[in-house]
């Protein structure tokens, strides 16, 4: 990617964000059924109450005006009230989001830690049993339904072996004051290594469920770009200089092989964000995804809408960051 391409992305960013917000708005507006009726379905509400709710949600005003109000509110973080929690939506999200980010980041870390050495090793020993095994495994990884993989892990590590706990992020007796919301950090900040380990043991299975299938695809991408890079003259030249093998592979080759992998990493982040909703449900992980799924059944639409918008905005921004990272890794793009 050339520098103008980065610039183009920068110009595109607001356009895509605008489009995303419009789609989220239309999701709730254009779908069949009156949201007020659905929301009040279980409650015995009078016509006046329905009309009040309708006016409260602004449903009696023209579409364009409603969108502008929605957009203005979204920018200021006002997503209305989560009547299920009887608190502003933004508060509920702020409380749950750190758990989801912690899970996703640790899953990403697992994916990278597994995929990079595997991809490099497979590329170095092309067509070996390791290489063949990896390509079979990565096909397996993309064919694996995440929720089922999680259940298998629960069966093995929690039910059969009793090694790891399932449900929640940390036991009550290990609670620490929440500073960042990331329990791995908060437990350390509180000076409680025991609590850190217990938080980690809760995090391990969900993060592996989310990260391992992602590693499968990533390893394949790293493998194929490494194969290409290893054939390059500069790798031969680096070896001819007498550099240690590790430096040739992990600095000279990998640095160039990671450039195409970054783009795939951004796409994988979308898989991780979407997959986290499933994994949170399977493991009872109190993150944003779980509260979204709960909210769907409670017909708590403002929260669902805000969360979908948030996931999309995070994803778009991550993709943009990947473009910047691509540029940073590739000196030809730097100005």
């Amino acid at each position: 990617m050339s520098f103008p391409r980065v610039l183009e992305r920068l110009v595109q960013l607001p356009v895509v964000l605008f489009g995303v917000s419009l789609v989220v708005f239309l999701m709730i507006t254009l779908t069949p059924g009156d949201p007020v009726e659905i929301m009040l379905a279980d409650q015995r509400a009078t016509e006046e109450q329905a009309a009040m709710l309708r006016a409260d949600l602004g449903l009696d005003r023209p579409l364009v005006e409603r969108y502008l109000v929605f957009l203005g509110n979204a920018v200021t973080g006002d997503f209305g009230l989560s009547f299920f929690h009887r608190r502003p939506v933004i508060e509920v999200i702020a409380e749950r989001l750190p758990a989801t980010i912690e899970l996703t980041l640790v899953a990403l870390l697992i994916a990278l830690l597994v995929a990079v050495p595997l991809g490099v090793a497979a590329a170095v020993r092309r067509d070996s049993w390791l290489d063949r095994g990896l390509s079979a495994l990565s096909l397996f990884g993309v064919s694996l339904p995440g929720f089922w993989f999680g259940i298998l892990l629960i069966l093995l590590f929690a039910v059969q072996l009793g090694l790891l706990p399932v449900g929640g992020r940390i036991p009550f007796d290990a609670e620490v004051p929440r500073l960042t919301g990331f329990l791995l950090l908060d437990t350390l900040a509180a000076g409680r290594p025991d609590a850190f380990l217990r938080a980690l043991s809760h995090l391990l299975l969900p993060a592996v469920t989310l990260g391992l299938p992602a590693a499968a695809l990533l390893a394949r991408v790293i493998r194929s770009s490494m194969v290409e890079v290893l054939a390059a003259d500069y790798v031969l030249f680096a070896e001819a200089k007498g550099l240690p093998r590790r430096r040739v592979l992990y600095v000279h080759a990998l640095k160039n092989a990671l450039i195409p992998a970054v783009t795939v990493l951004a796409i994988e982040m979308g898989q991780l964000l979407g997959g986290s909703m499933i994994v949170e449900t399977v493991f009872g992980w109190p993150g944003l995804g779980r509260v979204v799924v709960e909210s769907i059944f409670a017909r708590n639409y403002p929260l669902v809408q805000a969360a979908v918008l948030l996931y999309a905005v995070i994803y778009v921004l991550l993709n943009f960051c990947a473009d910047l990272l691509y540029a940073a890794l590739n000196p030809k793009v730097r100005l």
Binding site: V15, T31, S143, P145, I151, I154, G274, T281, V308, N319
Partner: protein, 298 residues
């Protein structure tokens, strides 16, 4: 014997691709698995040993035939928490998986192909509009988009298809748009333009036949993904509604009984894995056969 060697039949590119495909043992075997599952799905009402919705609490969580104890004769893979036959539910569940996948991929392929042709050939505002729409939809993680739509529309087979198609078409569209942009510069298109053919004629008669094989390749490997998506939505309870069996919701049903009856949750997941893996293998073979360039560079 001095017989003149029979001239080799001249094969079209498609013929050559098919020959390559048939020589690929893995692809043929996995294709056979997919066809087998499809056959099961079609014939489900006649093949399934039991009524998949027939509940009987006396059979609750009875074990598969190989287990030895608390086995109910005729219920080979055991029963779920309502005493329904798991084997029959698996066979019927294939119908949901495959019909959703086929419908979604089929409709998305048609929409995506038409949008891609129009964007790539007409350029201008059409292209800007289509490309912006594609970029916007790419901005949503797939599952988040589907869950968001299902939340608003409510569960059900039709809504699943709608929700997935709305996201799925962009993958075909991107491929077709790229191919069309390249085809636009080719001689045969320029010749057709010089002859005064209408844009519609050029898009549908000249370019379309040439983009069909990439569309086919995209469609097969997207199908694997769509099956996982449907299963995920059903697992969350946003898919087809009970008592209709679907693999995803069956996994979910068994979650509370992992300790006592592991098979209730694991068997349907195994079916998803087997089907998706077969489709992926078959589509890989298809890709290798129809796109030798990819084959060589791998």
């Amino acid at each position: 014997m001095s017989a003149v060697a029979a001239p080799l039949p001249a094969l079209s590119p498609t013929g050559l691709a098919l020959r390559r495909l048939l020589r690929n043992g893995t692809a043929v075997a996995s294709g056979a698995v997919v066809l087998g599952v499809a056959l099961l799905a079609v014939l489900a009402p006649w093949i399934a040993p039991q009524d998949p919705t027939d509940a009987d609490l006396f059979r609750r969580l009875c074990a598969p035939a190989w287990h030895g104890e608390t086995v109910e004769p005729g219920f080979w893979l055991g029963c779920d928490s309502l005493g329904r036959d798991i084997l029959s539910r698996l066979i019927h569940g294939a119908r949901v998986s495959l019909s959703v996948a086929a419908l979604v991929v089929g409709i998305a392929a048609v929409i995506g192909t038409l949008a891609g042709l129009a964007a790539g050939y007409l350029r201008g505002w059409t292209d800007i509009l289509v490309s912006r729409l594609v970029d916007t939809l790419l901005g949503f993680p797939y599952l988040v988009f589907a869950i968001g739509l299902m939340a608003m529309m409510g569960p059900g087979l039709h809504n699943i298809v709608l929700a997935l198609v709305l996201k799925e078409w962009i993958f075909t569209c991107r491929v077709v748009r790229g191919e069309t942009l390249a085809a636009r510069e080719q001689d045969y298109v320029e010749a057709a333009r010089a002859l005064g053919c209408s844009p519609r004629h050029i898009m549908l008669r000249e370019i379309l036949p040439n983009v069909l094989s990439p569309v086919l390749v995209v469609a097969t490997f997207r199908m694997a993904y769509v099956i996982i998506m449907e299963a995920s939505l059903s697992f969350l309870g946003l898919g087809v509604q009970p008592p209709t069996p679907s693999w995803g919701s069956m996994v979910s049903d068994g979650r509370d009984f992992l300790v006592d009856a592991w098979w209730v949750s694991t068997l349907p997941g195994l079916c998803i894995l087997a089907l998706v893996l077969s489709i992926n293998l078959a589509s890989q073979g298809l890709r290798d056969a129809f796109d030798p360039r990819l084959h060589q560079s791998s």
